[in-house]
Symmetry: C3
Subunit: 210 residues, 3 copies
């Protein structure tokens, strides 16, 4: 497998696991596990391919999606062994996000040659599956959590695009970008990294005005 | 009309009715009825066509969508006659699900020849309109209810695809698959059929280990 | 700039502002502002282009989306000066809705020549960005508010399509349609214009039956 295929299958497997973990938190049945795992795994890539007007990856190669199904079944039988399923969900989501921001950026670059499109596509691909999972499972959206999330996808997509344009070989660029995104998101999960959040500030104090 | 057209117009009409019933539960105005009815009726088929890279059915044949509009108006003036609008919504949703899982599977089969894609497409087409309806109307998602739901769509799509590949004529395969999906979902609504739902289980009891 | 480009950039800017205002209400960080602003600004147009099978506008011309980014940053630093951010959000949303219903109708007309598709596309393009914003930000959907909303988009798309088919020059048709949509939605916000909302009515009183 080349590096992009590793990211593809790996990302799909971990995103499927997060969908299945969300299903376990909602106490769904095995088909619910398969459905949520599938949607989470293919959501980001489907939007990516549709927007870029490429053939949708799982229509071209449906065997692909079996990975997600296997993972869903595995999670169904093992999730009870995990101490905190939500914590595991967040960490696997971080791995998937790092994989898909690279993959999305590369696909965007291949399809259009535009760095801006590549970065936007990387960010969108990486975050859309998780957004869809949270919407469908009725979970609080990972988007609205305090620690940085979209930022990690954006950073990874940016690094991959910049390194590719700088002439780095694909495996090096992809590895560097994957590491960037995972470190940013992992740091956020481990150490609570946040950007300053918007706070409603009072208007200027009249006494400040001479 | 051939059997696929019957499923198409019939499915659109009943899904439109479920959208309009959701609008009635939210006490929307007539345009809200039309909008939710329309989105529910065309949601699944639109995603199906976009993902398969076919021309979107209602862009090709916009007259089509008038069925949904008529149904929405009809529901606006008659919904108060219904004893339980939510119960009716669920039953009509079952009819629509049975119609669209066949239609989606057949379109997927025609477009790609792959059984896996056909089954996935049938399942997605059948469930997506209802998911969208619940999301937009702020209703609890039909996905997260206890009785089997996605399973019925999956069963119908599977039966249709298998029968077509086994060489049955289209009307027979479609009728058999429609019946399968409707019986599974109807049984779930009537008798509360469920699969075992995931339950958080305690870890192995240390005393069990010799 | 021609009138359509003005509507395009203008609509994108105001929808981006509504996304950023939603981000401010959720106290997100600057990247959250950029993300919600971007999704709101491009959501409607992306669905429009994908459904019409046109190249997605921001993939063709990614520089375009910088407008949304600039607006998001601006709102991040100035939102605290606004007395009611939700009120401002609703008014800017009204401007965006008026701009996008014209643009969507014109794109639908250009792509298919069908008046029905043009009107549906105008309505969808105008409302989808706001729906997506409210879903992702976890805000109560603008769809479910009491005052007319979808109606304004429908009215604008209808007027634009009718005027174009009647042979009016594009700028005149667009201006008239923009005004129609904005007046309908603005009147709804200012004066609380509503259509009669569906009310569950009791069945016929048995005493009424002779």
């Amino acid at each position: 497998m080349n590096p992009l295929q590793i990211l593809d299958y790996g990302g799909m497997a971990v995103f499927a696991a997060t969908g299945a973990l969300a299903a376990s938190r909602k106490q769904l049945d095995i088909i619910g596990f398969l459905f949520l795992a599938g949607i989470t795994a293919i959501g980001g890539g489907t939007v990516r391919d549709v927007v870029l007007d490429l053939p949708v990856f799982w229509v071209v190669n449906p065997g692909h999606i079996l990975v997600a199904a296997l993972v869903a079944v595995l999670v169904y039988f093992t999730a009870h062994l995990v101490e905190s399923r939500y914590k595991l969900l967040l960490w696997l989501d971080a791995v998937g996000l790092a994989a898909y921001c690279v993959l999305g950026a590369q696909k965007g670059l291949d399809a259009t040659g535009s760095a801006t499109v590549a970065i936007l596509m990387g960010t969108l691909t990486a975050t859309f599956g998780g957004i869809l999972r949270d919407l469908l499972a009725g979970e609080p959206s990972v988007l609205l959590r305090t620690e940085v999330y979209v930022t990690a996808a954006l950073a990874g997509a940016f690094v991959h695009t910049a390194m590719m344009l700088a002439g780095l070989p694909l495996p090096a660029a992809a590895a560097l970008a994957f590491a960037t995104a995972f470190i940013v998101r992992g740091g956020a999960l481990r150490y609570g990294w946040t950007f300053p959040r918007y706070k409603s500030r009072p208007g200027r104090d009249p006494e400040d005005i001479p």
